[in-house]
């Protein structure tokens, strides 16, 4: 589980973000068939639009919102991966996900999110900034510029750090 980094001032808003993500998902439940997948980043954006209009004071800053959403999304995806693993061990029925079918022309190699989470935790010990950049970009879908704004560094640095973190994680997951 990623550490609940209280140094981030907006951390107390996490349950709000999480609930909004959940409500959006609940609306999908009523109109989509089981196994439907969404792009995490699209979901995050939808949540932002809603929360920013409902609670403009807390969520005036989009990048800050995205930073919280990235952490929420990481937790959700890791929990899901672990629950899947547990369900498999428990003999629950297998279901086919539609990831491949819905991803378009080139289906991405599926990533073991639980393993990624562990590797990311190890990376955070070596280089906290790189780990945060991965969290923001991958789980939160932030652009290089948005990530730079959240972290208070230049976009060029974000790119270099991202490149190394990505290479390091790729090795860690092989």
């Amino acid at each position: 589980m990623p550490s609940n980094n209280d140094s981030r001032p907006q951390f107390h808003l996490m349950p709000l973000v999480y609930d909004e993500l959940r409500r959006i998902a609940a609306r999908y439940v009523s109109r989509e068939r089981p196994g439907q997948t969404l792009q995490a980043t699209a979901l995050v954006n939808e949540a932002y639009v809603r929360l920013a209009s409902e609670r403009p004071r807390e969520f005036q800053n989009r990048t800050h919102f995205l930073a919280i959403a990235a952490l929420s999304m990481r937790q959700i995806l890791v929990q899901r991966a672990r629950a899947r693993g547990a369900a498999k061990r428990g003999g629950a029925p297998q279901r086919v996900t539609l990831d491949d079918a819905s991803a378009g022309s080139t289906p991405p190699a599926s990533i073991d999110v639980a393993a990624l989470d562990e590797a990311l935790t190890r990376l955070a010990e070596l280089d906290p900034e790189q780990a945060r950049i991965v969290e923001l970009r991958y789980f939160g879908g932030l652009t290089v510029e948005e990530t730079a704004e959240v972290e208070g560094i230049s976009p060029a640095t974000v790119k270099r750090q991202w490149a190394m973190a990505r290479a390091w994680l790729k090795r860690a997951l092989e």
Binding site: M14, P15, Y18, D19, L21, R22, R23, A25, A26, V29, S30, P34, G35, Q36, T37, L38, Q39, A40, T41, A42, L43, M73, Q75, I76, L77, Q79, R80, A83, R84, A86, A87, R89, G90, G91, A92, P93, R95, T97, S102, A103, T106, P108, A109, I111, V113, L126, D127, R137, Y138, F139, G141, R160, A163, M164, R166, A167, W168, L169, K170, R171
Partner: protein
């Protein structure tokens, strides 16, 4: 890797990236200045970078279902989730506050991968209905079944405490406490069975011990409700239940009834007092007063087990009162009758020995042998009953059912042998003749009239 190494690795990696791809390898070799380990690491990272393709570029896909899990601080309907307190393959349990009533509740929902599966949703609904029909202090109270924002939730009594599993993990449980816990489990099962519900997944994880020491049986998740169309649903889900605690008939996928829960309760009891699962640790490790109860629960055939949780409860209560403080006068009288009958039967072998001589020949020997055979069976089985009643009361009813026919047959043989012997001796005035005839008729009266009366009195309550 030390932070100094990391910093140098970073410098190497990023320096190499600034070079055109074909020049990177040479640049790295120069820059590493003979540090082979660092060079290898940097080269491996560069290789990974160059072959990374779209790694991590595609945002992760998320299943709608995966967002349905609750988390601390979530608000769902009138409930505010405080924390997750339990998770298994079939359910996630949260501690939550019902803000309408200002009380704490346990919210049970399906784990995200199953949350939208209609079969599992129906199972959760059935669990709520099954548990809601049971009203007993040892069964957690179901408050309501809620469907909010696509979530299906059972709100039930929040039990502050720990699971029996946690208690087992801390070390052995002393026998008295184990019997007390097993007694409460038996009461909960009796209440459930009376409501027509078979738990089907009784195990230490599903037995909660409150901070006050009370027992609450939870998780009627795969409960079978008599009269409901229930079996098909759980059968479709494959083998449901926890194999180590499942009765043979449940493992075999056959119809199960209340006696299947008795089996599981036996496994739990054995684990509490024997320190391990009964099938992996020998029964010899069980305390002598409880071994017969456990063995009886674990009979392969349901007919060999206690017929109901109430019977199991009685057996446990008998163990809990050593020396038979609650033992009725009638029971004492029945035991006395058994012991005296056994003694009298054996004493009668003396006059029968004399009669053998008086009758003589093959007839005399036949009478003697027939009487001896009858005495061996009838007297010894009675002594066995007496002994069991004194020391293993939980076993008694089962034993009585098994030996009654033999005792009855031996009694008849005994009475007939005595009367035959008396008649064959023939001499009407002889003491042996009178003795044999009197005791033959007396024995018949005793086992036909007196013994059934003392037995009825002693076992009136439990022979229903």
């Amino acid at each position: 890797m030390s932070s100094g190494d990391w910093t140098r690795l970073k410098a190497l990696f990023q320096g190499a990236l600034d070079q055109p791809a074909h020049a990177r390898e040479r640049w790295l070799r120069d820059a590493a200045a003979g540090n082979v380990e660092l060079l290898q690491e940097a080269q491996a990272l560069i290789d990974a970078h160059e072959t990374a393709g779209t790694f991590l570029d595609e945002p992760p896909a998320i299943e709608v279902d995966d967002l349905l899990g609750l988390t601390a601080g979530s608000q769902i309907g009138a409930y505010r989730v405080i924390e997750e307190i339990g998770r298994g393959g079939m359910g996630v349990v949260y501690l939550a506050e019902d803000q309408r009533l200002g009380r704490r509740v346990a919210l049970k929902s399906l784990p995200p991968p199953l949350a939208r599966d209609p079969t599992f949703r129906e199972r959760l609904r059935r669990e709520a209905r099954a548990a809601a029909t049971i009203s007993h202090p040892a069964v957690a109270v179901v408050y309501s079944l809620e469907e909010i924002d696509g979530h299906l939730l059972i709100a039930s009594e929040y039990v502050r405490g720990h699971t029996l599993r946690a208690e087992l993990a801390r070390g052995p449980i002393d026998d008295r406490r184990a019997v007390a816990i097993a007694t409460d489990i038996a009461k909960a099962l009796a209440a459930a069975h009376a409501a027509g519900v078979v738990h089907r997944d009784l195990k230490p994880e599903n037995v909660l011990i409150t901070d006050e020491g009370a027992v609450k049986v939870v998780d009627f998740g795969i409960a079978h409700v008599e009269g409901l169309e229930a079996t098909r649903l759980t059968r479709d889900g494959g083998l449901v239940g926890t194999p180590a605690y499942m009765s043979p008939e449940q493992l075999a996928g056959r119809t199960v009834d209340a006696r299947s829960d008795i089996y599981s309760a036996g496994v739990v009891l054995a684990e509490m007092v024997g320190g391990g699962h009964p099938l992996s640790s020998p029964a010899a490790q069980l305390p002598t007063s409880l071994a017969p109860i456990v063995q009886r629960c674990l009979q392969h055939s349901p007919t060999g087990r206690f017929a109901s949780a109430t019977e199991l409860l009685r057996a446990l209560e008998d163990v809990a009162r050593p020396g038979g403080a609650r033992r009725s006068g009638a029971r004492w009288w029945w035991e006395f009758h058994q012991a005296m009958a056994a003694l009298t039967y054996w004493l009668m072998m003396i006059p029968v020995w004399n009669a053998r001589g008086a009758i003589g020949g093959a007839a005399g020997r036949a009478v003697f042998v027939a009487t001896l055979a009858a005495v061996i069976v009838a007297a010894n089985l009675r002594l066995h009953l007496w002994f069991t009643s004194r020391f293993y009361p939980g076993e008694l009813k089962w034993l009585r059912a098994r030996v009654a026919r033999w005792i009855h047959a031996a009694d008849w043989l005994f009475a007939l042998s005595l009367v035959t012997g008396g008649l064959l001796v023939g001499d009407e005035g002889s003491a042996v003749t009178i003795l044999l005839l009197a005791f033959g008729i007396g024995a018949a009266v005793a086992f036909l009239v007196i013994e059934p009366a003392t037995t009825r009195a002693a076992f009136r309550s439990s022979s229903k």
